[in-house]
Amino acid sequence: MSTAFLHAFGAHLPTRVVTNAEIAARLGRTPDWIENASGIRERRWAASETSVADLAVAAAEDCLQRAGIEASALGLVIVASGSAPPGFPGPAATVVARLGLEGTPALDLPMASAGALFGLALASQLTERFGDVLVIGAEKMSAILDAGPLDPNTAILFGDGAGAALVSSRVGRWRILDAVLHSDGQFRDDLAFDWASPLRMNGLSVIMHASRKLPSAIEEVLARQGIAAQDVTAFLLHQANQNLLVRVAKALKVPPELVFSNVARYGNTSSASMLIAAAEWSRENPASGAVIFSAFGAGFHWGALLAQSV
């Protein structure tokens, strides 16, 4: 039995709302086309001076407040981001400094959309050794959009934001039961960004793989714990595209309303999206039953994590 628990989630979204109407003409699309293709109606973009670390710290502070602990109680901080500026150190060093921590280890996961899921799974294994672990997914995807001209089918998707989760070996609201993680580097060029050229996305490949790998990973972790998809209270997935979320629900044979969605309001915020979804879902719903976290992203990396209310 796992001794890792999820205590609280936090989120931060920039205040600037960017509607489909604002970007449609520039991309040669209509607002309705964007919504039909993605389910996205608007997204948030951070100010030019706002950094990935700024977004991460704001989500961290929200999570710590909701968990009722001080930053000084943290034993490890993990920061996932695919849009942090290149070079070193990554944003994790800035985050722990801004949280007032000296000597607390901080780990960057430069993984994009699956980063927060991998961070949660790592945290569930590391919390007994390090104590309370803060997992953050933070993205300034608008910086990637600014870095070069994108295929309109890709440029419509992205928003900025950050989410956070506190994982502890102390008993909390949800016990982490199990997690499965997978990577397959042979498709690494199908979704990639290096700051030297525009983001590349082979949408056909990404959707085809995500449509199969997300349900497969979820079924894998559920089967390992003897739980049916129909017995899961909520599915908190990377918010890539509403059509993909509906497809996952269909594949799992569960009602689509069980798959939490805020993609219409925030767009695809990459590694931040799953934890932003968890933060919103946990504020609106009691901690009851089994909850699935799942993500798929560049690499390809994908997986699923199962938690059960205590």
Partner: protein, 81 residues
């Protein structure tokens, strides 16, 4: 080698995936012709697996392999369907 029965079954699968006209040219891209979009492609692969009792492994999840009727027929033939 052409297999008229397999071809008819393939066309039947395509008709269940989309209500749009099937391209007359077997080499025409099913994506560029508008017959399939990114969300119809996973449905097509799943339907092919069911109809022809095959398993498409992850390494074969390459859109180019399913880009035209000719390519799909080649894939099915190579996999004994």
């Amino acid at each position: 080698m052409p297999d008229s029965t397999r071809r008819q079954r393939l066309l039947g699968v395509l008709k269940t995936i989309t209500d749009k006209p099937i391209p007359a040219d077997d080499a025409e891209s099913l994506f560029e012709s508008g017959l399939l979009d990114s969300f119809a492609l996973p449905d097509l692969v799943s339907a092919l697996e069911a109809e022809f009792a095959i398993k498409v492994p992850d390494r074969d999840l390459n859109p180019r392999k399913f880009d035209s009727i000719a390519r799909i027929e080649t894939y099915l033939e190579e996999h004994g369907a």
